[in-house]
Symmetry: C2
Subunit: 175 residues, 2 copies
């Protein structure tokens, strides 16, 4: 399933491996590939190992009714592309959006802060594997488990319809 170039791109970025059919990489420091059961339907995207340490791309707020704080983190390939404005994003780009319920800070009246974690959403760039969806694979996870196929069916339509001019990625880099 994975072409050599795509695998090399992912490994070369020092970050993540995705796809239910991907073979675990043996090299020290490389990510652990999740089992097929944890991969998203349609796309086979998993939550990348170590993503919480990735660099911040930008925070955001999702209004009510979700009323969430968000933060998009990117792997090294993603950040390098953002820094120089590379579009489309290269193969191996991975973006992870963390989301939390937004709650009142108990200590500072003017602030709202992260409450309970809600979803983790992943975008993986592989132009060949995901050719029919702009080169992007999507994964949406709650409590570490992928949501159902019906929810994943909605990812591409929204990204295609609203952010085609930014390689289907909403988030811009916050300086």
């Amino acid at each position: 399933m994975w072409k050599l170039g795509a695998i090399a791109g992912v490994i070369g970025s020092g970050v993540v491996a995705v796809g239910a059919l991907a073979v675990a990489q043996a090299a020290a420091g490389d990510p652990v590939v999740a089992t097929q059961a944890e991969a998203s339907p349609i796309y086979g995207v998993t939550i990348p190992e170590g993503y919480r340490r990735w660099q911040l791309v930008a925070p955001a707020v999702e209004a009510a009714p979700l009323d969430e704080l968000r933060a998009v983190l990117g792997n090294a390939t993603a950040v390098a592309a953002y820094e120089v404005g590379t579009l489309p994003f290269p193969d191996g780009t991975v973006l992870v959006k963390l989301a939390w319920k937004r709650k009142q800070s108990p200590e500072f009246e003017a602030a709202t802060v992260p409450g309970a974690a809600t979803t983790v959403q992943v975008m993986v760039k592989d132009a060949r594997k995901y050719a029919s969806t702009g080169g992007w694979g999507f994964g949406r996870f709650i409590g570490g488990e992928p949501v159902d196929e019906a929810q994943h069916d909605t990812c591409w339509a929204c990204h295609e319809g609203l952010v085609k001019d930014h390689d289907y990625v909403f988030t811009r880099y916050a300086p």
Copy 2:
């Protein structure tokens, strides 16, 4: 892994604002505390080199009239302390809060996203040097330049009054 182009992009974009006199002290990736033009009054805290690559601690929102999105990033010492719940934070802890005006996403109605960058605020832990302010030195910067002494006079009173039980740090780690 940072490619040369990405590093050049960061420097070229002025994202990392570091005084020329501070460069020599940046080798360890740890904060620069110096007495120089770019250092904060009272505390002598500067913007640490490379902070934009540090790990996200948590995002936040500051309500109107500021109406800002915030993100606190921490150096390795800070993150290690957060991960195991170490209090007080050890010497060498540095936290940097980035702030941006919050603006409507032009592409997604429910989202607000970072607009213009406003302030960068830094906390540096050095229990001996800053013994009279809970071990913390403060720096507040606009456009890379520290604000005046009167503004820095307000830092400690607020942190001391509101978050003494969390070693004077508001931000909690967002999982």
